[in-house]
Every structure is written in structure tokens, then in C-alpha cells.
């Protein structure tokens, strides 16, 4: 079968598998969550009845009131007595919001109310998202050397073969990232946030660092949170560094699978390193000759139209 046919087959296979995966997830979620939802519904019903029974409120006016309260709540405005008077749109919170916008996490705990805000969000996101991608890849490129290349070379020099060395290093890096960016922050969150358990903190870290950002847990939104602006800035920094580490992990994994022939086996694209840019400096100084050789190669490759950098070379840096 020629390569075109093969790739179509691969694609359809992927789509089918993807649909199956979604269905499977749907089934599992449904079976886990639905009973709980039913129970909550019944509780709510009972609560409303109880309230209506012991008071002079009519059902209609209660409905009316509830709808208004819920609409306000959707935008983060609480009607409760002990809700703090801090706004959701002071500078630190707005910056937090802007950060969730450009990292595409998008919690949704506060969303723009006004039309102008919505229009501005659109423009801001369209520019900010590629911008953030650029920054992240630049930073990852930079830390790739001390965190990946140097240790792997070290491991190889101490006698390991290249393939096991990369595997060992990847496992070590994975353990380190999980420890520092999932377990530790989860512990911190479970202490700082009053109502979060350890699992909640872990769940939050994971959902945020994968940029899913469901928004059911958002740090710093509890009423009466001390040092709220500082806390939110700290969470922003954590998100950024965590995203960088996730990138690094994925990149390392991709390189590793390149090395192990996994990508060519699955006929997936190789992890290509992009062309040498002017604003880059060689970090392996002693191999200046080989570096020049690499630049020559990449420069000539640039001219070949088949290898034009595609639109997301930006992600490979």
C-alpha cells in the first residue's frame, strides 16, 4: 500500500479509536457521577420544599429570586453575608484572569460581564495565546540544556548506552516533576485553602497544568482569603513554571521516542529541531565546527520547499 493510502488508513484508525475512547469515558463518567447528581437533586428539592413550607414565600417569587442570585453568581458576585468585599476585578485578580486567558487554561470562575470586555477578550486572546506559546518554547529551549542534554551526556559518560540513558533520565525527570509540581503544590493548597483536601489539590494542579481548567477549584476565591493578591500572583507563577515543565517533559519524551524508533514505527512525525536562528547562540562551544556543519545543513534544508517549516515550528522553538 502506498504511503498516501497508509496515512489515510492511519487517520481513520485514529479517529475511530478516538471516538471509542470518548464513548468509553462517557460511560464511565456517567456511571460514576449520575447517582450522585440524582441524590443532590432530591436534596435540593427537599430543601426548597422545606423552605417554602415554613415561610410565607410563594414558589414563584422564590424562583425569581433564585434565578437572579444564580445569574449573579455565574459572574462571581455572591449575595452571601460573609462574602468579602474584595472585587473580582481588582488588579491582581484581573491579571490572574488575563493569565488564564493567555495560557488557555480558562477557569471561568470570573468571566467578562460587559460586551466590551468580551470583545476585548477575543482580541487579547488571539494575540496573547501565540505570544505565550512563543515565550514558553523559548524558555523550554533554554532550560533544555541543563536539565536534559547535560544529564543524559553525564549518564552516557558513566557507561550507559544511549537508549537506556534517555529512559533513565526521562523517568527521573518525570518523578521530579510529579513531586515538585503536583504533590508538593497539592499539599500546599490543601493547607492554604480551607475546604480543599489533598486529592482536591492534586486534581486542581493536574487540571490546571494540562490547561483544561474546569474551574470547579480555583485558588484564592474563598471569602476572607488572606494576602489574596500575593497568593494569586504566586499561583500565576506556579502555573507558568508548571506549564514550562510539562512542555519540557513532553519534548523529552518525544526525543526519547525518536531515539527508540517509536515515532518512525508509528509513522509519526519526528521531533525535528528547527532551523538555527540569528538570535540563538551555540551552547556547545567546543564543537564549533560541527555546529557550523549543522547550521549549513539546516540552512540548505531551509531552501528545500518540502521541508519548509510548518506553522507550528513555533512550538518546537
Amino acid at each position: 500500500m502506498n504511503s498516501v493510502g497508509k496515512s489515510w488508513l492511519l487517520l481513520t484508525g485514529l479517529i475511530v479509536f478516538y471516538i471509542i475512547y470518548l464513548l468509553f469515558g462517557a460511560l464511565v463518567f456517567s456511571s460514576i457521577e449520575r447517582p450522585v447528581e440524582e441524590q443532590l437533586r432530591r436534596d435540593m428539592d427537599a430543601l426548597k420544599q422545606e423552605f417554602l413550607n415554613q415561610s410565607c414565600v410563594s414558589a414563584a417569587s422564590l424562583e425569581n429570586f433564585l434565578v437572579r442570585v444564580l445569574t449573579a453568581n455565574k459572574y462571581g458576585v455572591s449575595v452571601l453575608r460573609n462574602s468579602s468585599v474584595t472585587s473580582n476585578w481588582d488588579l491582581a485578580s484581573s491579571m490572574f484572569f488575563a493569565n488564564t486567558l493567555v495560557t488557555t487554561v480558562g477557569y471561568g470562575h470570573t468571566t467578562p460581564l460587559s460586551d466590551t470586555g468580551k470583545a476585548f477578550s477575543i482580541v487579547y486572546a488571539l494575540i496573547g495565546v501565540p505570544f505565550t506559546m512563543l515565550v514558553l518554547t523559548a524558555c523550554v529551549q533554554r532550560i533544555m540544556y541543563p536539565l536534559v542534554i547535560a544529564p543524559v551526556c553525564l549518564l552516557q559518560r558513566s557507561g550507559l548506552e544511549p537508549r537506556p540513558a534517555t529512559v533513565v533520565h526521562f523517568v527521573l525527570l518525570l518523578v521530579l516533576v510529579v513531586l515538585c509540581f503536583f504533590l508538593m503544590p497539592a499539599a500546599v493548597f490543601s493547607v492554604v485553602e480551607v475546604s480543599w483536601s489533598f486529592l482536591d489539590g492534586l486534581y486542581f494542579s493536574f487540571i490546571s497544568l494540562c490547561t483544561i481548567g474546569l474551574g470547579d477549584f480555583v485558588p484564592g476565591t474563598q471569602p476572607g482569603q488572606k494576602y489574596r493578591p500575593l497568593y494569586q500572583v504566586a499561583v500565576m507563577v506556579y502555573l507558568f513554571v508548571g506549564l514550562m515543565m510539562m512542555y519540557l517533559l513532553l519534548r523529552t519524551f518525544h526525543k526519547m521516542s525518536d531515539l527508540h524508533g517509536l515515532t518512525s514505527f508509528l509513522q509519526l512525525p519526528r521531533c525535528e529541531d528547527s532551523d538555527v536562528d540569528e538570535d540563538r547562540e551555540p551552547i556547545v562551544d567546543e564543537d564549533s565546527r560541527t555546529a557550523n556543519h549543522v547550521t549549513e545543513k539546516t540552512a540548505s534544508r531551509h531552501l528545500d520547499p518540502a521541508s519548509q517549516p510548518s506553522y507550528n515550528t513555533i512550538n518546537k522553538g
Binding site: 463518567f29 415561610s55 470586555g117 523559548a138 543524559v152 470547579d216
Partner: protein, 429 residues
Amino acid sequence: MTLILLFSPASMAAPDLLDPKSATHNTKPRLSFSTKPITLTPREESEVVATVMKWKTVTAIFLLVVLYLVMGAAVFRSLEQPHESAQRLAILSQKLEFLSRHSCVNQSQLEELVKQVVSAIRSGVNPAGTLTNHSSLWDLSSAFFFAGTVITTIGFGNTSPHTEGGRIFCIVYALLGIPLFGFLLAGVGDQLGTIFGKGIAKVEKMFVHWDISQTKIRVISTLLFVLFGCLLFVALPAAIFKHIEGWSALESLYFVVITLTTIGFGDFVAGGSEIEYLDYYKPVVWFWILVGLAYFAAILSMIGDWLRVISKRTKEEVGEIRAHAAEWTANVSAEFKETRRRVSVEIYDKFQRAASIKRKLSSELGFSPAPELTLPRRTVSVNFNDERDKIERDAGLQGLTTPLTRNSGLYMNGLDPERGDISIIEHLK
């Protein structure tokens, strides 16, 4: 979006829009990429990653992002805070009105009710309205939709798992599903790029007859890509959402952009309100998300490329300007040095000649040797700055600098150096 795109490096062939040639070349889908056996030696590894962005560039970009965030924060604050305060006042007055109208309800009871209701809402149960005709948020099609939002990392959040088991499963599910979706997106993007590339090739054939320049063709093809894609993946769905969901035009557009960039706030969700939807509505929305994501990935990468090009060009221009300035300064200072050297040499020469003439004269006339000859007519003394001293020092003329040369300008007292000797000899006479 960011994580997903990492799984599809160099394969998403929305054609490099700056070069139509590559577009036509992309008729072969690039999923089957390289079939060479990979033999990487450790040295080759280090070769391949021999370069990295300069620290300066990285810090510059980072500072720019921080600035961008702060700017966005300020704008959001100024736009949203008044609305928020208004909302707050409105709802508080509602509450007071409710309490005053229904005097048998005391405040704590109401607070309790509201708290429960709000937490129920967070769990996805809406107590407002009758409960009988509610569809569950976890029936199969909605759960399918939720699973889709998790894997695409959009994460609306209008439904989210609340049991511990659900959350743990969500984590594991996302860990496996996100890479899977990344590969799928790569494949879809490939095919999209191929289809588009073929279209571009056809259009290009037309333009060849009209004899238009390459750059114009490129620009036109980029514009076409953007416009056509916008029409198909943004404008059309927005119109459909406006009609079916009852949102305003801006809200529909806002929903489309927020969804396709995988931000996914969840304040607007297609298929999330209490309307009776057609059966095939949700699957079609899901399919639109899939293809639209590929399109948006292309757009965002294009914007990123532009930002890069702009920054590079700005750097180049700045570099050019700096180079020009440096060149100019170097030229000027070199010329200056040269002139200074020439003048001081000339002056020294003339001085020596004058001294020798004087000695001859004095020996002929029997005068005693006069003290050190200085030009008394030196009334103008322009102070040089230290740089000129440095230049002269550099030029090794230090020994030749006399008070004369150090304290006078090129044209002493308006006298021309060429005529200086005449005045010396005149003075001597």
C-alpha cells in the same frame, strides 16, 4: 492548545503560507514522515541541539509577556469593575427587597438556602425551575461532550466531576487522552492543509495567467485561507449558535473564539442550556470543535510566526540602525583622528623647522638661544574633552602633544595651519 500542539510538530501542514510552492508540494500528506532508520549517536544528539536562544532574547520576550499581562489586567479592570459593582448592588437590593416582602423569612434562613443552592449549581444541578423535565448532566451524550472537553483541554467546567472516583478517573483519562487527541489533531490538520493546498494550487494556476508577482500571490493566498476558514469555522457556527442558543452576535463570536483557542471559560456552552436540542446537535458541535481546533491552531501559529518575524525584523532594523550609528561614529572618529594626527604632525614639523630656522638665525646673529618658543597669538583655546586626549594617546602621539596642540582647535585663532608657519616666521622676525 499549547500542550496539544506539542504532539504534532512539523506535521500539521497547513501549508507554509508564505510559500505557495510548499503548499503544492504538500499534496502528499505528511503523516508518513521519515522512514529512515534513526541512528542517533550521543554526539549527534548534542549536535542536533547545539543552539539555543540567547538569554537576552528570552528575557526580552518574557518581560514583554509580563507587560502584556499587566496591560490586559488594567484594561479588564477598567472595563469590568463598574459592571461588577452594579451587579453586586442589584443583587443585594434584590435580597433586601425579598426579605422585606416576605417578613417570615429571616436572613440566616435565606443565607442558608442560597448557600446550598450555589453549591448545587457548582455541582451542576440547577434548582431553579421544576425538576421534572431536567435532562441529566451526565446522560451519555452530555458525558461524551464532557469527555471531549477534557481531552481537547478546553475544559468548560459547566459540568465537572464531584466524586472522588470521578476526579481520579478524570486525571487518568486526561493523561492518556490528551496525547491521543494531539495526534488526531495533527492528522486532521494535515488533511486540512492538503485540501487547502490543492485549492491554492488551482487558484495559483489562474493567477499565473494574470502575471502577478509571487509576493502578491502569497499574500492573497494567506488572506484567502484566513477568510475562507473564518467563514467556515467561525462565522457560520456563530450564526448557527446565535439562532439555536439565542445568544447575541457578540456572545456567539466570543464563544467560538474562547472555545477554539481551548480557553473554554464555560459561561457560554453550546448545548448547555435548557433548550430542546435536536439529536444530532451535540455530535455536530463536537465535530466542529475538532476541525475548528485544527484551523485555529494554524491561525495562532501564523500569528506567532508574524510576531517572530516582526521581532526579528525589528531586531534587524534596530541592529541595522545600531550598525549604521556605530559605523558613522567610527568613521567620524577615524577621520577626526586622522585630521588631528595630520595637523599635529604638520604643526610639529613646522615647529621643528621654525626652531631650526631660529637656531640658524641666532647662530648667525649671535643671539642667545631663546626659551621655549610659544605662539603668543594663541588667544583662542578650545577645550578638548578627554576623549580626544585618549584618541591622541591611542594614536601614539602623546609625545608629540605640546600645550599647543592640546589646547587649540584645528584652526588656531582662525589661522589656517597651512599659513601657521608664516606667522611664526613673522613673529620671529
